[in-house]
Amino acid sequence: MGSSVRGLKGLATAIALGWALVSGTAASAQDKQLRIFNWSDYVDPEVLDAFKKETGITVVYDTFDQMETVETKLLAGKTGYDLIVVTASFLPRHIPLNLYTPIDTAKVPNLKNAWPEIQQRLAKYDPGNKFAVNYMWGTTGIGYNVAKIKERLGPDAVIDSWRILFEPDQLKKLSNCGVHVLDAVEEMFPAALRYLGLNPDSKNEADLNKAGELLRKIRPHIQKFHSSEYINALANGDICLAVGYSGDILQAKKRAEEAKNKVEIAYSIPKEGALMWFDSFVIPKDAANPDAALKFIDFVNRPEMAAKNSDFIQYANGNIASKPLLSAAVRDNPGIYPSEAVMSRLYTITPYDQKSQRVVNRLWTRIKTGK
Amino acid sequence: MNARDAGALAPLRAKRKASPGSVRRAFQPWNDPAAEPLVVFRNVTKRFDTVTAVDDLSLALYPREFFALLGASGCGKTTLMRMLAGFEQPDAGEILLDGVDITAVPPHRRPINMMFQSYALFPHLSVGDNIAYGLRREGLPRQEITRRVAEMLALVKLDGLEKRRADQLSGGQRQRVALARSLAKRPKLLLLDEPMAALDRKLRESTQFELMDLQSELGLTFMVVTHDQDEAMTMADRMAVMNHGRLVQIGPPDEIYEAPTSRYVAEFVGDINILEGRVASVTGEIVRVETAIAGAVELDEEAASLAAGETIFVGLRPEKITLSHDEPVQAVNKVAGEIWDIGYLGDFTMVQVMVGGDDGQLLKVALANRTRRIERPFAWEDRVWLSWDVEAGLVLPP
């Protein structure tokens, strides 16, 4: 009897203690935890480890592979993350909706290393660089299978222009070899407009119709409209050519090299110019730990950390001070860090308003379905 | 058979003969060497894995015969029937129908129909469509089918239920539909697999008589497989007892009951007391047997084959024993005992009498309850005498 009472008392103490422990750790975990939502394969794990070691903040790192996934979470009102990497073209729509907390630049001293040109281009989406800090940037260009292109177009063929895509006679030669293009109006219409010599940022309905007409002509030779399938398809050697994001195409190249399947992938920024895209850090309004988020932004903007990330994922970053620290393979790759001349031909676009958005959506659906 | 016959058949019940057994006595084609059998099993054997279900069996069935195959479950009777229907192939031997070997003929080409124990009515079809199923397979003209279905419905007294579905019928009605369906094609031979098993007792009795009437009126040959000896004895012209894949005895029901040729048949068909003994003497037609329990008993038996000193069994049916309190002085065969048990069964009472002392043998005596008197002449622990005629006992080989 006596022992069982003592046992019960002990149990009660244990429960009380356990509860204190659980609630205590929960409270401190709030401060010591940073929840990041980023694209998959988009950070050097060593950078995360170094951050944790230095600050004592645990990083909960979740990944997505479609911007739409993130946007739906954001629009639904609650994300549960402290730091998100979003594509800049989404910002103009999101900022007025009050989705993000402004960046407290005082807490991010390493922003002094920011690349002014990138800052300036990013400001088109985020006026005054108030909400977004650039992480990585790249271009939308042409990825191709070197051997297959030579087989179809002759040994001297050079892929350096949108001509290969927008001239039906040219593209026809590749049609039974496989051509994928991005299923995204904001990527394909500017390219078509640029090739036609029009303003890639045009919202003029007549211009958009012309671009639509051009895209409609090449449609019979396109095997698939998809925004991610081309990575595997290129890497496996299933297709000849894809319009895609520089980073994805370089990733396909890497995968093919790792698989040793004798598939050689190359990326080209067309000489007419290409669209620039920016993946940037934002802090959502409902972030539980914005301070940790700012600390992380500061941390990855140290030149050596930025270089480490770029070397690992093979993307250009928005940190000019990191450039000398980059490995030559990344720095000298014109697909990653284009020359000044190419850089000057890269363009950015502003988002479509409600009306032009519907126009291009309709045009695009008609192009895709061939109806 | 034609439509007019069917009309004449309608009041079957009224035309039923008073005692089927006595009327059919004259019908004994199996004793007529000139009679052509309808079905012949010739040395048929069927094995399942290691079990021999039917063992080198030979049998002849005659046209218009009502044949019953009786046996315990697992004796091979169902296999025998399924071989006749064509669902099983014999491993050895042959089966003839009208003198033609049908061993290799598939079931759907045999002019034999079967009424399944489960009835196997098609649940998605109406009563009429069930009955018409076989006729449609023959490709008969539509009007002919309609006429035959109506005829069959009348025959089994289900007129008006043509549109019903099988699951909307009572057990008895389902059985009639199954019967009508298997009769619709006018088979040379109708097989009935435990036809009464799913019916309650009252319905079973009346249905038995109806089946017999149908059979004799239609002039068909029936083979019934059953484990119910009453059913077999009531309906059959001739029955066979089957055990371990072999036919132990074939004959008319009364012969099987009164003159079993083996202890197995004697014990399987009806109740029987078995006394073990030794032949003391054979004098003319009287056999004297010395039994351990009842002393010397005399039997009137054609016992030419018996020799003095031989060990035999004497079978005594319970209803052939007389029970009395006083010693029956006149009786040749008598033994004293004590009543151990009295079982009242309504139409008769089964009394168990211990003879030969407390370690002796219990003998069953059946007493017909001829009056409605409740107080009975015998009671537990009464000292009584059992006696029987010399014709009552039968000799069974060891």
Partner: protein
């Protein structure tokens, strides 16, 4: 006695209420939300549609702002109804092919010895133990140019050129039939296994050769299984999104993909909701017809 029963009866009523509560909570409520969205307009807002419910005082204005505009668009733009029709066509083809393959499969399984049946059943269900997405991806590996299929066909000398099946309607159908086949086989197997074999013997006994017995007994008695299997395949097949997305090409635009791009790419939640509402009715209509057919069949008997 009567009073003693009262709590039991109340409990009984509660038990009956649970499934209805479930339906209300997890079917009707979400449907109401989707329906309300379908009557709204797309807007740059959070969430991205208007009007928002501002409380009961402004209920009148709220209701006045709802309209049928999205449904009108679905009717006007051939893209949408063509996608619906195409989805129905693909789903119907999938169902028919799955039935043609699944019936013999289920029949063979039901005819197999009892002790094998559970093993065969496991083999049918086995693919479910791996991710659906991985199985569809595996088909990319099989169907892609110079993939497994091409290698086998070229190796056996059947074809010399790659078939280029990937990103065609044929590839979508292959993927759909493969993925949904178990949903056809399982109910068919259950029905055929229950089928009383003595019915087939009775049919044979009455003069039906094997094929006739199948057509007049097995087939009509397996109709419930055929209907159940077809419904299980057809309904999810109409709304299928992943398979046409991965295996299909620009020509295989099914309504699921249209819904996806309206919702995610175009951020037009109201239009996507309207697409979903119409899809629901497109699916419910044949089911209701089926149910009615079954009821009248039962009633006539």
């Amino acid at each position: 006695m009567r009073t003693g029963n009262a709590p039991t009866r109340r409990l009984g009523r509660l038990v009956v209420a649970v499934p209805y509560l479930w339906l209300l909570l997890f079917f009707l409520a979400p449907f109401a939300i989707v329906l309300r969205m379908a009557f709204s307009d797309a807007a740059t807002d959070l969430p991205p549609y208007a009007p928002h419910f501002q409380g009961f005082s402004q209920l009148g204005e709220f209701i006045a702002a709802l309209d049928l505009e999205n449904f009108r668009l679905l009717g006007d733009d051939p893209l949408y109804w063509q996608s619906y029709l195409y989805s129905l066509r693909i789903a119907a083809l999938t169902t028919l092919i799955a039935l043609a393959i699944g019936y013999p499969l289920a029949y063979a399984m039901a005819s197999a010895p009892r002790r094998w049946q559970s093993l065969l059943l496991v083999l049918v269900i086995l693919p479910f133990w791996t991710s659906f997405l991985i199985r569809v991806y595996a088909w990319i590996g099989i169907l892609r140019p110079e993939g497994l299929l091409d290698m086998v066909l070229a190796g056996t000398g059947v074809t010399s050129e790659p078939l280029r099946l990937l990103n065609t309607e044929a590839a979508v159908l292959i993927g759909m039939v493969y993925s949904y086949l178990p949903f056809m086989v399982l109910p068919l197997f259950a029905t055929l296994q229950k089928l009383d074999r003595s019915l087939l013997e009775a049919a044979a006994d009455l003069g039906a050769p094997a094929w006739t017995a199948f057509a007049t007994v097995t087939l009509p008695l397996s109709i419930p299984g055929i209907l159940a299997g077809s419904a299980l395949v057809f309904i999810p097949a109409v709304g299928e999104f992943v398979i046409p997305d991965l295996l299909g090409g620009p020509d295989t635009v099914m309504i699921g993909k249209v819904l996806w791009s309206e919702f995610f790419s175009n951020r037009d939640w109201p239009l996507a909701s309207a697409v979903a509402v119409v899809l629901l009715f497109v699916l419910v209509a044949p089911l209701a017809l089926l149910q009615r057919a079954r009821l009248t069949r039962g009633g006539a008997a």
